[in-house]
Assembly symmetry: C2
Homo-oligomer: 297 residues x 2
């Protein structure tokens, strides 16, 4: 969990609630009871935990320690397909060693945010009855912590990364070849996020591609990829899938990709988490149906 | 019709058959009897007209004049999403003034390749019983021949351009806003091509988006946009649509977009027109069904 400073062509906010755990849990909360493990400093505002609690997010695993909360600031390019990091202050996040509350350890679903692969692996090892586990990573870990990362994702059911990360991890420029190479690393399911161009789902024997939702105005893409992850995992958890029993179908996974896309699209409509203050489940389902209309032929 | 020199990361060909009319008519020939109007020089090879004749393309409107055929050479970027023009020799194309054979003038369907807007308008004015007419344009006409272009597309049913051209023509960076602005210029149907990211169809009250087909190897994207146009128009002509009677549905238009995408994807599988020497209709329909499989949820 973090505070972010963001500048886009539509405006600028110096400090607002952010962080992968925040976006993932807000998005996921529309589908299933969501529990988070994260760390914040003593500067973390009550109104921010209030927002998560209002959405029913379980904060037992939220550690509060002396010091300042992680802070990131960035500026987007005019077309908002890229951004420049202006500031990264790790603060209390530097010493973060995620410990799962006992109450969490028998849960069946686990989504690991983008942190050091060794910590992701440590979190996974604390879970006793996993039915579906996966997560995110980023260029930094792919480049400089490759062996750790490979050992970590080998145990995952799914990996959720963007197209540049998929190319870097696989060493393949072509996404179809990249996907096959990554599926050989362990996960049986790979989701590649492509920003405004949508998302792709790959399994050994099938694939699914959805274009991005066409917003009239993208205010701020910050958190959209995390909201995708939250919608994807939230939907699968809501359905109660059991992957070990191979109960999960390509159809259900593709619907999870659509719900991920829906949540990512809502995230972009306002700065930061603003859209989630008013968003209702009925709007989510209406946009899901809109995806069906504009993609079917 | 042209000769092209092309360099991609997969190889280089110094001189091969090319040109919008060539690609469009080859793609369209799988769906309907196609007639072309174009100009070539006395260097144009018999084996190249033979290829078109073998596909049943009517060459009565192919003018052969003294001089050299249009020549273009270009080099693609490593990701093949962009290309640099190395040479453009207009040759006999410089004096081209398309004249339609009498036999062509009662045909119901017209697709205008990317030439000077005034010439496109002149061609359209020679047709007596049009039921569906549209075409392509490019940045050069949008920028320096804007008034002529606007007068030309005002009479079209559809416009088929790429995303950068749509932004330039409309002055809108956002594609949804760009599309609405372009639909106010006359055409009731707009198709925006996005290269490897697929295509979008816009009408006043609906839209359709399809992702690009995922090829394992893109050998040469030259002509893919023209093959898209040929597949799109060819399919609509095969169905015998009459737009004046408003017989055309969003469903049929979106299937035309899929056939366009299918033809564009085949084009990229080999250099130049090579793929069309062996391609069969059954392969086209199989790939259409593959599009259905990887996009439905």
């Amino acid at each position: 969990m973090a505070y972010d400073g963001v500048e886009t062509p539509h405006g600028r906010v110096d400090r607002m609630l952010g962080g992968a755990a925040t976006y993932i849990s807000l998005a996921s909360s529309y589908f299933t009871r969501t529990r988070i493990v994260a760390v914040v400093g003593d500067d973390f505002a009550k109104e921010d935990t209030d927002l998560l609690e209002k959405r029913g997010v379980d904060l037992e695993g939220l550690e509060r320690v002396p010091g300042k909360t992680f802070f990131w600031a960035g500026k987007y390019t005019p077309d908002m397909n890229d951004r420049e990091t202006l500031t990264t202050e790790l603060n209390v996040f530097a010493e973060f060693n995620p410990k799962l509350p006992v109450n969490y350890r028998d849960d069946p679903y686990l989504l690991l945010g983008n942190i050091q692969p060794k910590l992701q692996r440590h979190v996974r090892s604390q879970m006793n009855k996993l039915r579906l586990a996966g997560g995110d990573t980023m260029n930094f870990w792919i480049k400089d912590f490759r062996e750790e990362l490979l050992a970590t994702i080998r145990e995952w059911d799914f990996l959720l990364i963007n197209d540049a990360e998929a190319r870097m991890l696989s060493g393949q420029a072509n996404l179809k070849k990249a996907a096959q190479a990554i599926l050989d690393m362990g996960p049986h399911t790979l989701v590649i996020k492509r920003g405004e161009f949508g998302a792709m789902l790959f399994r050994k024997d099938s694939y699914f591609i959805v274009p991005g939702y066409l917003l009239e105005t993208v205010f701020d893409p910050t958190g959209a990829g995390d909201c995708f992850a939250g919608g994807f995992m939230g939907y699968l958890a809501q359905q109660g899938f059991d992957l070990e029993a191979d109960h999960i179908s390509r159809g259900e996974l593709s619907r999870a990709v659509i719900y991920g896309s829906v949540m990512g699209s809502f995230c972009c409509e306002r700065f930061g988490v603003e859209r989630f203050r008013t968003l209702e489940r009925a709007e989510i389902d209406a946009r899901f149906e809109e995806f069906r209309r504009f993609t079917s032929f």
